[in-house]
Every structure is written in C-alpha cells, then in structure tokens.
C-alpha cells in the first residue's frame, strides 16, 4: 500500500521539524495578510488552494519536504543575510576616515575551502531528502482497490472518464475519501486532446501536465471529504484562466451512490421533447454527447447528467437554468474566445433547449 510507505517515509524528528517549519510559513502568510483584508474579500479559508494546507497523502509528503527545505534555506538566509548586514554596517567608511586604503587581502585558501565544502554537504543532504520523496510519490505502486480516472484536457475544459465504472463527465471529479484505515487512492491517467495543460489541485497533490501524444499519471489519496479547487496550470491559449477544476471528495457511500447514478443513461422526460428536438437538430450534437440519445459528439463536455454538476463552463458559472440559458445564448460573453459558438437560437428554442437540459439530472 503506497500510503503506508508514505507515512513511514519520514523519520519522526524530521517530520516534526518540517511540520513546524511548514506551520510557521503558513502562519506568517496569514499574519502578512491581515485577517481583516481576508474578511473584506470574503475568503472561505477551506477553499483557498494553499499548498501548505494538504489534505491528501502525496500533498502531505510534499509539504513535509517543503518544510525541511524551508528550514534549511531559512537558516542559510539568516546566516548569510546577517553577515551581509554586518559587513555593510561594520565596514562602512567612517566620517573621520583618514583617506588611506584598507589592507588588501587577495583571498584565503582555508576560508574559501570552508565555504565550498559546507554548501556541498548541504546540497548532498537536500538532494537525498528530495530523491526520497520523488521516489515515494512517483514510484508508488497502484494498489488493487484503487479508483482509475482518465482526465483529458481540452481547450478550455476537462473531460473526465471512469473507464471501469462507465462514467463520462466533465470539470468536476468525484473521488472517495480514505479514512479509518481504509485506503482508496485514485490514480489519474492524464491526456490531452489539443495543447499542453496541467492538472493542479494544490491541496491534493502537485501538478502533472497533460501532453498530447503522451500519457501521464499521478495519484491522490484525500483524507478529508469536501470540495477542493484547482485549475489548469500550463498556459493553453485564450481562456487558460477560466479552465477551472473541482474535486469533490465523498464518503465511500456517497461516492458509490454518485457513481451509480452517473453510469445510467439520461432519463427520457416527455415534457421536454420539444427541447430535445431542437438539441438534436441543431449542431449541439456535433460536440456534445448525451448517453442514450443520438448525441455523441466529443469536442465538448458530456451532458448526460449535466444538472448533477454544480457548475457550468469549466467551473466558471454556477449551474442554474438562468445561467445555462445565458451561457448557451452567448458563450463569448463569459469566456471570450471560447470554442462553443452562439447558435443564434430563437428565444423560444432557447427556452426549449434549456428546459430539456434541465431534465438531465
């Protein structure tokens, strides 16, 4: 089990030390940014995607390493910075200077050797500590019970597939939590349909790029339920900024219920047949798929269970019929440069389509 290797990966004392350092950094960040300002900005601290608030096994390992590196570099900063300040104050030219030149010193073998050897030792220690975490995270073997998810980057949204569960969705991942000794890590297989993207949910793991013609992988093992925010971290064109991402960590029961619902075909609701007709007779179906209907396009997000998602347009808008209508009417208004065209539907057709999509629970 990778997570047990993770937890024993760090010796206890080092772990305490790095925890301490990480905590200090986090606290100083909070002090630097006065709480009152946070309040004005209405920041929900649980949604701030801080790398120093990890809630998943690989993110924890990284924070520990980061704490260790910060402690070492912080010490170097204090010592060398202190020497610099001392030199500037101590050796400034005084007012009563006699105008003679100071003693000329051209160098010193022993001193120079010392400040070569000490950094070499520090680098060796840091490199070893780093190599260990690289190995722990990257070479973790996938356990049998792990959930497999495929994430495919598109300009500018995320296609999410659960091949073993028969689920296709977009922009919002659902994964089970690992707690109470039960480990249910999620292994992500990352691909791109167009340009380079990067999957980054800071509180769950470091980022990994989605590169065309290359399959990458990463894993997460969240230890707390809740919503975790992320977004594309590699510049991928006009709307890179609005390629947002959400990961919902559910209890195992909630996750299983969600997975069961998502695997089903779209319900047929006869009250919305007019909208369905518009949808299927317009170019919508060239890009969007709705399982169980003729719509099977793959350029845009799968809409089979659209209304089960909290957001629209890659987490840019909250999901409500009003927002959905506004989005379909003029996608450019929310994401200039977006690849979804405005279809110039009549108001009546627009209403029909929205009421049809609203049935896709």
């Amino acid at each position: 089990m990778p997570q047990s290797q993770q937890r024993t990966g760090f010796s206890k004392s080092r772990r305490v030390m790095s925890r301490l350092a990480a905590g200090l950094v986090l606290r100083s960040i909070l002090i630097l940014t006065p709480v009152s300002i946070f309040a004005r900005e209405k920041v929900d601290l649980t949604l701030v995607p801080s790398i120093f608030a990890p809630e998943s096994v690989p993110a924890h390992s990284i924070t520990h390493l980061a704490g260790f590196v910060l402690a070492v570099t912080g010490a170097i900063f204090l010592i060398v910075g202190g020497l610099l300040v001392y030199a500037v104050v101590r050796f400034r030219r005084r007012k009563d200077d006699d105008g003679t030149e100071p003693a000329q010193i051209y160098g010193s073998g022993p001193v120079e050797s010392a400040w070569t050897i000490v950094p070499i030792l520090i680098v060796v220690v840091l490199a070893l500590a780093t190599a260990r975490v690289v190995h722990e995270i990257q070479d973790a073997r996938q356990p049998a019970g792990a959930l497999e998810v495929q994430v495919i980057g598109h300009q500018w949204w995320w296609e999410v597939r659960y091949p073993k569960l028969g689920i296709v969705t977009a922009n919002e991942l659902h994964v089970p939590v690992s707690h109470g000794g039960v480990s249910r890590p999620t292994f992500l297989d990352l691909r791109s349909a167009d340009v380079v993207h990067s999957f980054w949910v800071p509180r769950l793991a470091g980022k990994t790029d989605l590169i065309p013609n290359k399959i990458n992988s990463m894993w997460i093992e969240p230890e707390r339920t809740g919503l975790f925010l992320g977004q594309c971290a590699k510049y991928c064109g006009t709307q890179h900024a609005k390629m947002l991402l959400r990961v919902y960590v559910d209890t195992p029961e909630d996750f299983d219920r969600w997975a069961k619902e998502q695997a089903q075909n779209a319900e047929k609701d006869s009250t919305a047949s007019a909208g369905r007709l518009v949808f299927e007779q317009t170019a919508c179906i060239n890009c969007h798929a709705i399982k169980g209907t003729v719509a099977n396009g793959r350029f845009g997000p799968d809409l089979t269970h659209l209304m089960s998602r909290d957001t629209l347009a890659s987490c840019v808008l909250s999901n409500s019929p009003q927002n959905l209508r506004a989005w379909i009417k003029a996608p450019e208004q929310f994401k200039p440069g977006v690849l979804m065209p405005a279809m110039n539907l009549t108001d009546a057709d627009l209403d029909h389509v929205v009421s049809y999509l609203a049935t896709l629970k």
Partner: protein
C-alpha cells in the same frame, strides 16, 4: 597645405578637417552613428536600444499588473492580456537583456583589455543591426501579425511558446511567425557578437595581460559569450524546425500529426536555462568590478571567482529539465535534474561569499553604484534559496508554473540583472559621457526602486503558494489572491516612478551633470586610464600591465599588486 588639398581632390572623401567636423549638422551626426563600426558607439546604441525596450516592456508589465490588481477585472480582454505577457517576456529577454549585456561587453571589453576595438568591427555592427531588425520584426506584429486574415495582432503563445500552441491549428495568421523570425534573427546577431567578443578577448589583450590578469568583467563576459554559442544555437535550430512545421508541413512539433510537444520543451529549455546565466553572469561581472572599487579592496578570491563562473556555466548546461519536472519524466530523470540543479548552488554560494569577503575589512563607500550592488548580493541570496526550493522536484510539482516561479525569476531578472544594469550605468556613465549622473537623484532612484521591487516581488511569492497559476488574465474573488495582487500592482507603480527618476537623471545629467574627469571613482582598471569619453582610438599608446589592477600599481608604486599575485 596645398599638397593635402590636392590629395583630397583626388580621393574626394577625406575633406574633413577639425573645423568642418565640428560644424556637422544633425544629419551628419545621425549618419555617423548609423554607419559606425566603433565599439563604443555600438555599445551605447545597444544600451540605448535595450533601455528603450525596457521602458516598452515596463509599460506592458504595468498593463498586466493593472489587469490583475483586483479579481474579475475587465480592464483588458484575454486576447490582449495574453499578447502582453508574451511580448513582455520576449522583449525583456531578447530585446532588453541581450542588448544590454552585449552593450556593456561591447563598450567595456576593449577598454579593459587595452585594445582599440573589437576584433571584427564590421561584424559587430552587423550583429547590432540584426538585433534591431529582430526587435522591429517582433513589434511589427502589432500591426502586421495576422497578415492577410485581418487586423494585426502580436503573438500570444507565451515567451517559451510551447508546442503545439504554435502549430498552425492553434495559432492562425502570422503573429507566431513574427515571433519566430524576430527571435531567430536576433539570435544570429547574438552569435555574431559572441564570436566577436571571444576573439577579441583571446587575441587582443594588451602586453602583460595574461588570462589570469584580466579584470573579472572580461573573464565573465568571455564565459558568457561561450555560453551564447552553445545555448542560442539549439534555439535557432528549434525555431527553424518550427518554421518548417508552419510553412512546409513538417511535423517536428505538430502533435496532431504525431510530432512531439516535449521535444520543443527540451530544445527550448536547453537554451532557456543557460540563457538565465547568460544574462546574470554579466550582472555578476559588473558587481565584480564595482564592489571592490567601492570597498577599496582587491576582489577576494579571484581564481575562485573565475572557477566558480566556469562551473556555473558548465553545470547550467545540464539542468534544463528542471523547468520540466511536471511533464512526467521518470523518477530517475527527475532525480538527476534535482542533483544537477542543486549543484549550481555551490559555485553561486562561492560567488556570494567572495563578494562578502571583498567587503569584509574594507571601507565601504555608499555611492549609487554600490547601493545597487549590495542590494544585488542580497537579492542573489534570496533568489538562490528560492531556486533551491524549486529544484526539490516534489516541491516544484506544487510551485511550477505558479506565481512563486514568476516571483523567483523576477528576482533574477530584476533583482539581479536590472539592479546591476542600473549599477553599471551609474558607474560607467561618466566614462561614456564625461559627466556624472546625479548621486542625489540616484539615491532617490535606488530607494524607490528597492521599495517597489520588494513590494511587488516579495509579495508575489505568496499567491503562488496559495495556488495561483501564472498567465491567467483574471481570477475569482474569494481565493485569497486579491489583496496580494493589489500590493504587487502598487509596488509596480513605485518601480515605475523610480524608473522615471532614472530617465530624468540621465536626460538631466547628460547636459548639465558634474564633469567627471578620467577617473571619478578612484578605480583600478584600464578604462579609467583614458579620457572620458575615450577618444575613438581608446588609448594613444597601448598600455602595458603587470597585475589585475594596473591603476592601483600606478597609484601605489611602493605597494603594487604584482608583488602579491
């Protein structure tokens, strides 16, 4: 007299006696600069060219900062924002950094080695005008970028232009072609000048100046130019491949046809990382001249300084993939680049310690060049430590492509390079113009720029830690990034004011500044032995040196350096 007149009639070209030379009108002046092959004029033109684009890139940065000052801002549309950060980055590296370092190398290297010009003066002019052509082509994209398909537009692919965003499918029109050609042609100019500087240093030193008696600035520029030859050429190759992809249908980077996106990354960063050192080593070089003079001491550990720079150059050629820790290399590959990258910290540490050792026991004079240099050492320390953080691959998986990285490399490019360009300008301006820059305005410039710099770039680390990726044109409220970004923007405004003070200082001092004389700083290297500004031929008589500090030897005949070296 009549004999001379007669000769003039025959040749028809040398009718300039001193009186007519003084009566030259403005067009003659411009003409003399356009056709010059004098290393000092070309050096100054490089520097003016660099400073001009520094202001342009600064305006671009200001627009970017305004857009990011508050969440959900609508100051700029995304397309324009993306063009601005692409142009800002490309401009700062290729049209500000490169011209400025070559300007200083051009101006100073011959003067410091007691030569009358570079080895190939016309190649020098050629290199400069190629760089100008590259810059103009890049900026012409603002009006000609889309070519036949519509209005102009600048490239919007980011300064490292990751494939396949540059493929025809994702980048229509011609803006990317202008980017490729501009950088490509500027690169030819850089290679030409690097060859020239290397030849000059190796072949044209004055008598007595063995390699171990060269000023450190000359040594470091020699190393920098060697790196240009090794690093710019892969970029040139990659740009040509990209042009082939776009125009004749090859598929090097065209992923839609089986090309490789990571191939471009490797090509780009095997240029891009050494490029950082190409830019920062000349900053080291300037610091290695200024810190001793204003500490009144010889440089501490000269051989170690040279050795450390060679080590940095050597190691920096093998660290490029630390820009690519997130692309899914194997753990062995990642570990290799962790180790190689951390290794750079050792020679960098040696340099910091040697500058400290130079100041230790000295009598520090805090004139403007020294203030900028001390700040530079401080920034170098911080950027080195954030660099160590970024080199720890797992930490990098979090920090990569976040605002932490943006803050880190601005510490390098502004905190080190721009600070030392300022220091160097204050230090050698009197040599080039015969007049000192105002020290009072210089101190205003320094303190304002220092405060603005720290407001912007210290703060900028934090949104990265809080999960803010770079190159986003806007962000949602409620993620804790808003206030931090506002502080960054305010700091940028302070930096803008500081640069304004600098420009005023230059414009004011160039006409009314205090007369400098040949050696205003009581310095020790050869450029201060000739008049300010130096005559076209630099030295009436080629000097002969016996130590690294020939002017010290003259000023202290009883205690010359050559007794100890």
């Amino acid at each position: 007299m009549s004999a001379i007149a007669k000769t003039d009639e025959i040749s028809g070209s040398t009718a300039l006696d001193p009186t007519t030379a003084q009566n030259k009108n403005v067009f003659d002046h411009i003409h003399s600069w356009l056709v010059t092959v004098d290393h000092k004029k070309l050096g100054l033109m490089y520097i003016m060219y660099g400073l001009f684009f520094f202001v342009v890139a600064g305006i671009e940065a200001a627009l970017i900062r305004i857009q990011l000052a508050v969440p959900n801002n609508h100051f700029l549309p995304p397309q324009i924002f993306n063009q601005l950060f692409t142009m800002h980055g490309t401009t700062m590296v290729f049209l500000v950094g490169m011209p400025l370092i070559f300007g200083f190398a051009n101006y100073l290297v011959p003067l410091m080695i007691g030569a009358r010009d570079l080895a190939f003066p016309r190649l020098n002019a050629f290199g400069f005008w190629l760089s100008v052509l590259g810059g103009l082509l890049l900026y012409f994209s603002f009006i000609g970028g889309e070519g036949m398909t519509g209005a102009g537009s600048a490239p919007d692919v980011g300064w490292f232009a990751y494939a396949p965003l540059t493929a025809k499918a994702f980048s229509k029109g011609h803006s990317t072609d202008y980017w490729i050609l501009g950088v490509l042609i500027g690169g030819f100019g850089s290679v030409a000048t690097a060859v020239n500087v290397i030849s000059t240093i190796l072949c044209m030193r004055c008598r007595g100046m063995t390699l171990t008696k060269m000023p450190l600035l000359v040594w470091l520029n020699l190393i920098m130019c060697g790196m240009v030859l090794l690093a710019v050429t892969p970029l040139t190759a990659a740009q040509i491949m990209l042009l082939l992809d776009r125009f004749v249908g090859s598929h090097f980077f065209d992923t839609q046809a089986g090309g490789s996106a990571t191939l471009w990354m490797h090509f780009f960063w095997i240029f891009g990382h050494p490029e950082v050192y190409i830019l920062v080593i000349p900053a080291f070089a300037i610091a290695s001249e200024i810190i001793p003079v204003f500490s009144r001491k010889a440089i501490f550990g000269y051989p170690a300084m040279v050795g450390a720079t060679i080590a940095i150059a050597f190691v920096s050629m093998s660290v490029w993939a630390h820009h690519m820790f997130t692309i899914g290399m194997t753990s062995a590959g990642n570990t290799f680049f962790v180790v190689s990258t951390m290794t750079v910290g050792i020679p960098t540490g040696i340099k910091i310690f040697n500058w400290l050792g130079t100041m230790w026991g000295g009598k520090l004079r805090f004139e403007t060049p020294m203030l900028f240099s001390i700040a530079f050492v401080f920034h170098l320390l911080i950027m080195g430590l954030t660099g160590i953080m970024l080199s720890a691959a797992p930490f990098n998986w979090q920090l990569n492509a976040s605002y932490f990285v943006v803050a880190h490399f601005h510490y390098v490019l502004v905190g080190a390079i721009v600070f030392m360009i300022f220091a160097g300008t204050y230090y050698w301006f009197p040599k080039a113009t015969g007049r000192l820059l105002s020290d009072r305005l210089g101190k205003w410039h320094f303190w304002l720029f220092l405060i603005g710099f720290h407001m912007t770039f210290d703060t900028m680390h934090l949104p990265g830690v809080l999960g803010m990726p770079r190159r986003i044109y806007t962000y949602e409220a409620g993620r804790g990034w808003g206030t931090l970004n506002l502080i960054c923007t305010l700091g940028a405004a302070v930096q803008g004011v500081a640069v304004l003070v600098f420009v005023c200082n230059i414009l004011g001092s160039i006409r009314k500044g205090q007369r400098a004389g040949a050696d205003p700083w009581d310095a020790w290297t050869l450029e201060w032995s000739t008049s300010s500004p130096p005559p076209e031929y630099n030295f009436a008589e080629i000097p002969i040196v016996r130590s690294r500090r020939p002017l010290w030897d003259i000023k202290h005949p009883t205690d010359p350096d050559w007794k100890y070296e």
